[in-house]
C-alpha cells in the first residue's frame, strides 16, 4: 500500500463503515415511510433492537475497556456505573447528576485503589 492510500484509508473506512451504513436508515425514512406511524409494530421492534445494541455497546465499553480506562480496575468501573445510575434514579431522573456521580466515584476509586 503506497503512502497516499494508507493516509486516505481511514477516511475511506469512515465513508464505507460509518457514513453509508448509518445514513441509509435516514434516507429510507425520507423516501419510504411517509405513511408509517411512530407506534406501528415494526417501528416498536426496531427501536427495541436499536436499544439493545446500544446497551450492548455500553456494557462492553465498561466491562472490556480499552485505553486509559483499562487502567482503572473492573470493580471500580462497575461500581461507578451502578452509583451513577442510582443517583440518576434518585435525583429526579437527572442525567447531569447521574453522570457527575458516576465520574466522582470512578475518580475517587481510581485515586484510592489503582496503582
Amino acid at each position: 500500500m503506497n503512502a497516499t492510500l494508507s493516509e486516505l484509508w481511514p477516511y475511506l473506512l469512515l465513508i464505507l463503515v460509518g457514513f453509508l451504513p448509518n445514513e441509509v436508515w435516514r434516507v429510507l425514512g425520507l423516501v419510504l415511510a411517509r405513511g408509517l406511524n411512530d407506534d406501528s409494530e415494526i417501528v416498536v421492534w426496531s427501536r427495541a433492537v436499536a436499544t439493545a445494541i446500544l446497551a450492548g455497546v455500553i456494557a462492553k465499553l465498561i466491562l472490556f475497556s480499552a485505553g486509559a480506562l483499562a487502567g482503572i480496575p473492573l470493580a471500580i468501573r462497575v461500581t461507578a456505573a451502578v452509583c451513577g445510575f442510582t443517583v440518576f434514579l434518585a435525583v429526579k431522573r437527572s442525567v447531569f447528576a447521574g453522570v457527575l456521580a458516576g465520574e466522582a466515584v470512578l475518580l475517587l476509586g481510581g485515586f484510592l485503589f489503582a496503582h
Binding site: 451504513p21 425514512g29 415511510a33 446500544l54 450492548g56 462492553k60 485505553g67 486509559a68 483499562a70 453522570v99
Partner: protein
Amino acid sequence: MSAPAPHSSTAAVFFAGVKSALTSVFFLVLAGTYIGMGALAHDYGFSSWWLALSSVLVWAAPGQVILISSLGLGAPPIEGAIAVSLSAIRLFPMVVALLPLLRGPHTRTRDLLLPTHFTSVSMWVESLRLLPAMPRERRLAFCNGLSVGYQSTAVTFGFVGFYLAAGLPPLFAGALLFLTPMSFLISTARNAKVLVDRLALLFGLVIAPVLAHWHVGLDLMWTGLFGGSLAYGFSRLRQAVR
C-alpha cells in the same frame, strides 16, 4: 428562548435555532459525550480531523462509538458496518416522525435532505418539543439552526476531548473515556419510557458481555436481534395477558 418577531428573516430564525441549541440541556450532554468521544478516538489511534469528519458525516454518537471501537480493535470492516447499521435503525422512525412537522405546502423534497441527515436523538427530542408551537414556514430554518448548533458543539468538544486525552494523567484520561458509557447508559434509560425499551436496555446490557466473553462473532448484531426481539416478545405477551 424568546420567539422571533413576526416578520423575521430566515437567517434570524436560523440563529434562533442555534441559540436554542446552545442553551438547552443537550448542550451539556453533547459536550460530555463528545469529550469522551475525543478521548476514545485518541486512544484508538484516529486523528482529530478524522473524528471531526465522522461527527459531521455519521452524526450519531452510538454509531461513532461502534465505528471507532470496531475499527480501532481491528475488527473486519464488514462486521463494523453491520453493527453501525443496526445501531442506526432507530434513526428511521425518528425521520418518519419528524419530517411531517417540517413539511409545508411549498416544501420541496430537497429542502428536507438536510434535516434528514441532521436527525439524531438530541435534535429530534428538541424539535418535537419546540416545533409544534411554531408557524410552519419557520420550522425548517429553526430546525437547521438547532442542528448546526448541536453539530458545532459536538465537533468542538470532540477536539477538546482529543487533546485533553493526549495530555492528561491516566486517571483523568480514564474518567473522560468513562463519560461515553456513563452518559449513554443514563440518557438511554431516561428515554426508555415504555416496558419494551426498558427490557431491551436490560437484555442488551446482559447479553452483549456474555457473547463477547464467549467470543461469538457479530456479538452486537446478535445482542440487538436477540435482546430486542425478546424484549418485544415479553411486552407483547404482557399486553395480551392484561
